[in-house]
Subunit: 521 residues, 2 copies
């Protein structure tokens, strides 16, 4: 084989985030975490890398942690542990060792469950804590998560940021209702206009109970039906009907197996999903559900929860402009057990082919009362939600009138080796006045092209450039180029003289700090 | 084999960061990045996961990327690329495929080199950019890095945060001098007292040149000697002498091979390293070096660089209280080519055995003119430094009078199901006044133990708890417990009555917002 290259490149689906993108990310995280904290959530940070079995098998739309996750073996060999935490040994008492499977976290919920369970594990084994008094823990967390998406769709990434908040240790759906309000408050704080998004809410208990009442009474069949319903957004009613029935061919002609339900059952399912179509008013949707679910206990429990949530929203003035019920909402995650919510952006955008498209879902969440139990052994109900930071950044870019750019520093151009110490002294003086200042230090020892320095200032979105050559230094002045004004005038003025006179000014060094400050103000 | 358990646990050497630790981390990052930006550095974020070959083989004290790094195969099979970026093919034209080795980043410098090289790679191949006009790029970045430390020493972690700034595309040591000043400014901004730390500076060119002049004239021998010198802090002069000579036994009795240099050479090396011992004044250290290095060109170049850096520091008033020369300073990283710097904390702490220990190095950096070239093919000089965030957090904890704690929200206690909507309405009203408020929503539907709620508020460092039972609601008042004051008075007062009267007050709901605001002010 001929020589292999060492090409500088990123892994497919991974990105470098530049200053402007980081500025947007920073605004999103600051605004949202401010809101999260105002509701009493505290910050937790967990490792990027975890034991695969501690993350569990809860990938969205995946039953296994091997699929869709970056996983590898721990380079450190360790004892295999028994359920009681002791080392597993063979008959001769020899400890079984292994290089345990590790995984990059695929979300921030599984690590939260692990962290919560880890804190309580000893106490639970010592019977010092039980289900009735599991401690309440409300935390927020943000950071990168990783999904090995085998076929990488445009706009999808394998590393992306999530911004979660969760309440662990509460079975009170007031926490679910609050989560929906927090999402609404956070998105407004981030800068989304009210009315450009909706928090859609449903309760899996209602649908599960209904399905049970019409004979979908095993976990397997229920799971299969829920997975099909969850695809409704993508495939639409007709294809959903086919997948519940005989099956269908996708666009590529590949066969998609159907669930082969009786058409009467399919009619009832679709009828149930559509019962709120055209019905406005949360109260009225609940009334329709009331009629449809009959006596099934689980469904009635779910409906009562929706009633309680609705009451809180009414009390606090969260009307349908912000929160609506959606009887078709499923959410992919297998672990949701009750209320589920999703924020849909109502904005549209033009894709690369110029077709108008809906932005769609930008946040999601729900109640997961079984997740902690898988690790701790004791049931700890929990609920929470997640904002997709990168997705939301896209939405802000689409919604915003002018693009968000990170502002650069005032640049002191480099002319003269002998003046270099003076450049740095001046920079420090301006910095002490609260001005961000950079002395250009690019290549060309002893000679730096001005054209290049101006291009650097422009690319970096610098508001101004300060020029001091030998003559200026002798006169005790600096030439200040107001790049901000320059850009504005470039569009309004064609008069070169006027442009220069306004944009380029000679300022005594003594007045420089004040001059620049006023300019930036 | 009997059943294996699924124990909730973290990988050894990884941590959960709680609210208080995150508060410290947040302060460090905010203060330092503010300083970085004030010098003109912009934010970059790069993937946690990279192609191993793109990260290069620059682990501290390691020649290979396999050692000390978390590495695994890309689950996606991809074509192997030739040096020109084309796909490698066999004689039949079939593309060679592989599951390329990936690695978790072990620092933030290698990814910067990759990102910079990746942007320029095409242009460089098209001859549209060359060494003389490589673009200047000044960026800061922070986030987790990963080291698989086989033997994990106390206080060391396998995932920890770094906070870097670098100038790529400059051969001007003004950038190195500036980096030292930035470290000093940043650490003071973070809250370290001037005088409790020193920026130590050296130039590898000087030592390399000197070693060459006394016959250490191959890269291998030079590297071997530098690695021994770099251990000076840990092993001391005597053991260093042994390792340069016949070798030694470590405390465990294991043999450490020596370099078998002539004792006359060893004397000259140690003499050179000690030449600044007891010499105060940067100028005087430079004078001693001047005498010692003779005519070696590389050494003279390095000395001239130190002179220029010293001049800038003098001009800007960075005296020896902040920056000193240290002729023994090496820095582990193999890729440093010129000036190197390290910040040493002068604080001491007591270890678990009560022994007094030096905190030691908390930041480091230096010039690496060869790193980008390995990926780009074209030489791009660069320099920068890194703050160890977690290490620094430890220092702040040791230096601080009272510990840094994250403040919790005002807690509205849960008494009465019927009042729950009122609790949430009140919380929202207070929130709109800028107060962080949480309504307790822990378990025990319909009955929540007050003792548990108070413990929750205490653990969460809540400044106050608001209690509203049926009687209060009827009277239109709330009982406000001032936990902050309560903690203070608990130390000063023994009078229970006085304590209660001061700490616990009944407030009309109408005045509640104002009352709480004043209390928090």
């Amino acid at each position: 084989m001929t020589e292999r290259g060492n090409i500088p490149r990123k892994i497919r689906g991974f990105r470098d985030i530049d200053a402007d993108q980081n500025e947007i990310r920073r605004r999103i995280i600051e605004a949202a975490t401010r809101v999260y904290r105002s509701y009493g959530f505290e910050q937790l940070d967990t490792p990027v890398l975890e034991y695969a079995d501690a993350l569990g098998k809860y990938m969205p739309d995946e039953d296994t942690v091997d699929k869709g996750v970056y996983s590898f073996r721990n380079p450190e060999e360790e004892p295999i542990l028994a359920p009681d935490g002791s080392e597993l040994r063979d008959k001769e008492g020899k400890v079984y060792m292994e290089f345990a499977p590790l995984a990059l976290r695929y979300d921030l919920t599984a690590p939260l469950a692990r962290a919560y369970a880890e804190r309580l594990w000893q106490d639970y084994r010592r019977k010092q804590v039980m289900e009735t008094n599991a401690p309440l823990y409300r935390r927020y967390q943000y950071g990168p998560v990783f999904r090995y998406e085998i076929k990488l769709l445009p706009g999808r990434f394998r590393e992306f940021w999530q911004l979660d908040f969760d309440s662990v240790g509460t079975n009170d759906v007031a926490a679910d209702a609050e989560a929906c309000m927090i999402l609404s408050d956070a998105l407004e704080a981030i800068g989304l206009q009210r009315g450009t998004f909706r928090v859609k809410v449903n309760n899996r208990k209602v649908l599960k109970g209904f399905l049970f009442s019409i004979g979908i009474d095993t976990d397997d069949r229920e799971g299969a039906v829920l997975r099909v319903i969850d695809k409704l957004d993508k495939i639409g009613w007709d294809d959903m009907r086919l997948e519940l029935g005989p099956g269908r061919e996708d666009t590529s002609g590949a066969a998609i197996a159907g669930l082969h339900l009786d058409s009467s059952i399919i009619d009832r399912i679709i009828g149930f999903l559509k019962l709120a179509t055209g019905v406005s008013g949360r109260q009225n949707v609940l009334a329709e559900l009331e009629k449809a679910i009959g006596t099934n206990e689980l469904a009635r429990e779910g409906l009562a929860e929706l009633h309680k949530m609705n009451q809180l929203w009414d009390t606090l003035g969260f009307d349908e402009q912000r929160i609506v019920f959606d009887t078709t909402l499923m959410r992919g995650m297998a672990y949701y057990t009750g209320p589920v919510f999703e924020v849909e952006s109502l904005l549209k955008y033009k894709d690369e082919k110029g077709r108008e498209r809906n932005v769609g879902s930008i946040c999601g969440g729900g109640r997961y009362d079984g997740l902690v139990e898988k690790l701790l052994g004791m049931k700890v109900p929990a609920t929470g939600a997640s904002i997709g930071v990168d997705r939301l950044a896209e939405v802000l870019r689409m919604a915003g009138e002018e693009e968000i750019k990170a502002e650069g520093p005032v640049l002191i151009a480099y002319f003269d080796d002998d003046l270099q110490p003076a450049y740095y002294r001046l920079a420090r003086e301006l910095r002490q006045e609260g001005i961000d200042v950079e002395v250009y230090c690019g290549l060309f020892k002893g000679f730096r092209k001005m054209k290049k320095q101006m291009a650097y200032a422009d690319a970096k979105n610098c508001p101004a450039v300060i020029l001091i050559g030998g003559d200026e230094a002798a006169k005790g002045v600096a030439t200040v180029k107001n790049l901000r004004l320059g850009k504005e005038m470039a569009e309004t003025t064609s008069d070169k003289q006027e442009w220069i006179s306004k944009v380029q000014q000679e300022v005594p060094l003594a007045d420089l700090a004040v001059h620049v400050k006023n300019m930036l103000a």
